[in-house]
Amino acid sequence: MRPPRWTSELLLVPALVWLGIFFVYPIGRLFYASLFTPAFSLGNYAKLAGSPVYLKVFVNTFEISVTVTLVTLVLGYPLAFLLATAGRRASGLMLVAIILPLWTSVLVRTYAWMVLLGRRGLVNEGLQGLGLTDSPLPLLYNRLGVTIGMVHVLLPFMVLPIYSVMKGIDVELLKAAQNLGANRRQAFLRVYLPLSLSGLATGCLVVFVTALGFFVTPALLGGRGDMMIAMLIDVQVSQLLDWGLGSALAVVLFAVTAAILLAVQRLSGAERMWVRVP
């Protein structure tokens, strides 16, 4: 029996109240602070537009986020496929291995990468010990270090949505396609890939949007050219107490991110993006 309509709408209330208090209200305060600190003016935004520093940091942030999304996709898609098609025991073990790091603090994991990637870290000592390199490779305090650290943190957020969609795909479909004359590549590209696309899109969005706001990893593993927006906002708010400029930075990041999300959603078809294809 279907519940009466008003009850199902009532179910939304707790989520809406939560979002209202902890999302809409603070975002509203940010908008307000960016325009009214100290008195109404567009000065904070003019300052952002007038200095090359802020533009460069925005470009950095998007470059790093796109790179990290692509790398996690390349690593995560095959992993999710393996996970979805392996036997129960194997996939259970793999799932634990993927989820376990999520229980460890990002800060601790980032420090662990400093130990591994440093000049005298495990990786460089190992490579030199094996005679593969003569001098330490620059793995830390540059874009490579940031990418490695962020990919490690964000990989589960790519694998899990793809895995959940792949779990619902009947593998027999691949055999059916081959039965109908498709070779293995065609069967994958024309049957499996389109069916898994919704998980792929969700994974990419979650990773990309999360990457945009990253702070700890680029701050610790990055070099002088790898500053991201969150680091700039932190300086404005916690060191300079300039809430106006910090808020303006946050608002611009929010607006650009929302615009990208809407554009992607429109391009790829809104339904396919969020709803699992049966």
Binding site: S51, V57, M227, Q239, L240
Partner: protein, 123 residues
């Protein structure tokens, strides 16, 4: 690495571990921490007594034996060993080669300087 800025205590710490690092006081920045009593504090008298005590020569010298940062009270040098005294940032010979950090000036100019610093970093 050829050159870096650091708190002097950290250089002493890595020297003890055998690192080949020297220290140059010339144009170093001399700065200090402050005790602050918020207006309307309940226990203001106790706090004032604590500050008066902790800035006396002997307690200042005792801190130096634990961590190698300079005493703010010059009379503390009477209770510090000769070698340790020469290593202090506030030892007269070292202090005169450094610049005093002016908190008021930094308070007024820090935002401009941070932006200039970031622009240089990102070049």
């Amino acid at each position: 690495m050829e050159l870096a800025t650091s708190w002097n205590g950290r250089i002493y710490a890595i020297q003890k571990q055998g690192a080949r690092a020297g220290l140059e006081w010339n144009q170093g920045k001399l700065q200090w921490d402050s005790w602050v009593i918020p207006r309307g504090s309940k226990n203001k008298d106790g706090a004032m007594k604590f500050i008066a005590w902790s800035t006396q020569p002997k307690p200042q010298a005792a801190i130096v034996n634990e961590i190698p940062y300079g005493p703010v009270n010059q009379r503390a040098f009477e209770f510090i060993g000769a070698q340790a005294a020469r290593d202090m940032p506030t030892a007269p010979d070292n202090a005169k080669r450094q610049v005093m950090v002016d908190p008021v000036w930094w308070g007024e100019h820090r935002n401009v300087l941070v932006e200039r610093w970031n622009a240089w970093l990102l070049k």
